[in-house]
């Protein structure tokens, strides 16, 4: 029963994974903190520079001799795991925006197949969403692993630092893409044909809405913008690990962020299911 849904998410996943791996390769080759030479095992300028600064930054593998790639780097501060989780959350959120149009795609000429199976409408939609969510979590895990792989490949693993609230940050960035998924599902479930555009512009809309918070405007308008931003996932996307995670004028703590993102996801999905039930082919 999950076959078609699995194929759809798998196709998205493969495309995303390839893009992420390409980005990872580019980072490996052209990292801003690294000087790279390819296909040359002779001592490079980078290695010479590294040797000169080794005492300053202490021990640690800052050179990699791999398959013809030589990298040196000069980190001087710990790299928080939270930032890595935030990046994975961002990637998963973009992925979620893409696959969040699943119900809209069904509504674009496939209801005759989708609704003539021995499953209820809600059962069908729930199954589709369950596979989507599994895909979102999988791309999150893949991104984290890929980033860790890149970090290990360039020998920066010793600079990875565990934040005290990394568990909560992980929770935040696991529900962050789900909130985007909920929003896109809720906005597009009953749309026929324009769902991709809506999903794409949802990021632009969210960014504009967030930026408006910083603008001076009449109190009434500001109150409206502030209220709208409470359902804006970008508001809760700060990767700071503490409760001080403040952004613009709205003060949002980590637990509140997790709860708000979860609520956005649940409400979005519920709205999508409600629309789905009311549709006609």
């Amino acid at each position: 029963m999950f076959y078609k849904e699995f194929l759809r998410v798998r196709n998205f996943f493969v495309v995303f994974a390839l893009v992420m791996m390409a980005i990872g390769l580019v980072v490996l080759l052209f990292s801003g903190h690294a000087k790279v030479s390819i296909g040359d095992d002779s001592p490079s300028t980078a290695q010479a520079e590294h040797a000169a600064t080794a005492d300053k930054f202490g021990p640690g593998p800052s050179q990699v001799h791999g398959t013809g790639i030589v990298i040196s780097n000069e980190p001087n501060e710990p790299f928080p795991i939270s930032a890595l989780l935030a990046f994975a959350g961002l990637v998963a959120a973009i992925f979620a925006t893409g696959i969040g149009c699943g119900l809209a795609c069904e509504n674009n000429g496939h209801l005759e197949i989708a609704w003539t199976r021995p499953a209820s409408r809600v059962g069908y939609a729930a199954r589709l969403m369950a596979v989507d969510i599994a895909g979102i979590l999988a791309i999150f895990a893949f991104t984290v692993l890929l980033c860790l792989g890149v970090i290990y490949a360039v020998g920066l693993q010793h600079y990875l630092a565990l934040d005290p609230k990394v568990g909560a940050v992980l929770a935040r960035f696991l529900v962050y893409p789900l909130a985007w998924y909920g929003i896109v599902c809720g906005l597009t479930a009953s749309v026929r044909g324009r769902a991709g555009a809506i999903a794409g512009f949802s990021w632009l809309g969210a960014a504009i809405l967030l930026a408006l918070l910083d603008l001076k405007m009449p109190p009434v308008l500001h109150a409206i913008v502030k209220t709208l931003n409470y359902v804006n996932p970008l508001l809760y996307g700060n990767f700071a690990s503490g409760d001080e995670a403040s952004r613009h004028i709205v003060q949002i703590g980590l637990p509140i962020s997790i709860a708000a993102l979860s609520a956005i996801a649940v409400v979005g999905i519920a709205a999508a299911l409600t629309q789905w039930r009311a549709l006609e082919a």
Binding site: M1, Y3, K4, H110, E112, R117, P118, A281
Partner: protein, 297 residues
């Protein structure tokens, strides 16, 4: 399929479907006995597809009901029911094989060997993505999916659309074979010859209303054409149009045709009184019956 065995396989009762101010289906009632092939005829926009959609639960009736063996439609009934829409709702990005695999994992009664046999019958390349198939091949894939679960109820909206004459014949054979096995087949088609060949019963919809329904052979036996030719232009014959048995009257130059129901004795006598050069009584075929029913010439 569970339910009341004595009840019709499909019973459409006072079905009405409105879209805003437009009434797509207007108080249609049809009972389809189990194991029959039922043809639904109508011009474009007559309400055939909307009737099918209401029957399959894809659209909500504004009034009336559709029951299968006396029971309202439930999702589990689709285990033994197939619906093929007018435009195959296939996923362009999936191959034919993937569509079949999805059906295998969805329907307990899916018959893999049957699906293979049907794919060969329609010369389908199952490795191709649906989006790369021609319209006819997409219809064929839809048919393979519909028949491969060996359904007890088949609802096919224009099943021959886009198919070549050879494959159109295969569709007829498949429907006849399914009905012989006890399945109830309901289909629509603009190719009246196909309907006449396959269907035991027909209904004709016109502008959302049911204008005629019955057993094909009975309808043909009841409906006759009185065709008369005159030396000059066909005259207007007093009282002919008012005759209750005359369903349609056509005058074209020297030719007069009266489409009648029943024996039409009074009609023949009235026409003969106008001194025609010849009078013939012909059987109507289904196309004649259809054209008269929808008011066409």
């Amino acid at each position: 399929m569970a339910g009341h065995p004595e009840a019709p396989a499909i019973e459409i009762a006072a079905l009405t479907k409105r879209y805003g101010a437009t009434t797509a289906v207007d108080d249609v009632s049809i009972a389809i006995p189990e194991g029959t092939i039922f043809g639904l005829l109508g011009t474009n926009g007559a309400g055939k597809t909307t009737t099918f959609k209401c029957a399959m639960g894809l659209a909500r009736p504004s009034a009336g009901s559709v029951r299968f063996h006396g029971q309202a439609l439930q999702p589990k009934m689709f285990e033994s029911m197939s619906y093929m829409p007018e435009r195959p709702a296939l996923y362009d990005w999936m191959t034919g094989m993937q569509h079949l695999e999805a059906a295998r994992r969805t329907f307990a009664q899916y018959d893999r060997a049957r699906a293979r046999e049907l794919a060969d019958l329609f010369a389908l390349d199952l490795r191709k993505r649906a989006g790369k198939l021609s319209k006819g091949q997409q219809s064929a894939l839809g048919l393979v999916l519909a028949f491969s679960i060996r359904p007890q109820v088949l609802v096919l909206d224009e099943p021959s659309s886009g198919l070549d004459p050879l494959h159109q014949r295969h569709v007829l054979d498949l429907m006849i074979d399914a009905a012989a096995g006890g399945a109830t087949v309901v289909f629509s088609s603009h190719q009246i010859g196909q309907v006449e060949r396959a269907a035991e019963r027909v209904a004709i919809l016109h502008r959302g209303k049911l204008v005629l329904e019955g057993v094909v052979e009975d309808l043909k036996a009841q409906e006759k054409i009185v065709e008369a030719t005159f030396e000059t232009d066909a005259p207007t014959i007093a009282g002919l149009e008012a005759n209750a048995s005359v369903r349609h009257l056509m005058r074209q130059g020297r030719l007069l045709r009266a489409y009648i129901r029943g024996t039409g004795d009074g009609v023949v006598a009235a026409i003969q009184a106008a001194a025609p050069t010849s009078v013939r009584i012909l059987d109507q075929n289904l196309e004649d019956i259809f054209l008269v029913a929808v008011g066409g010439n």
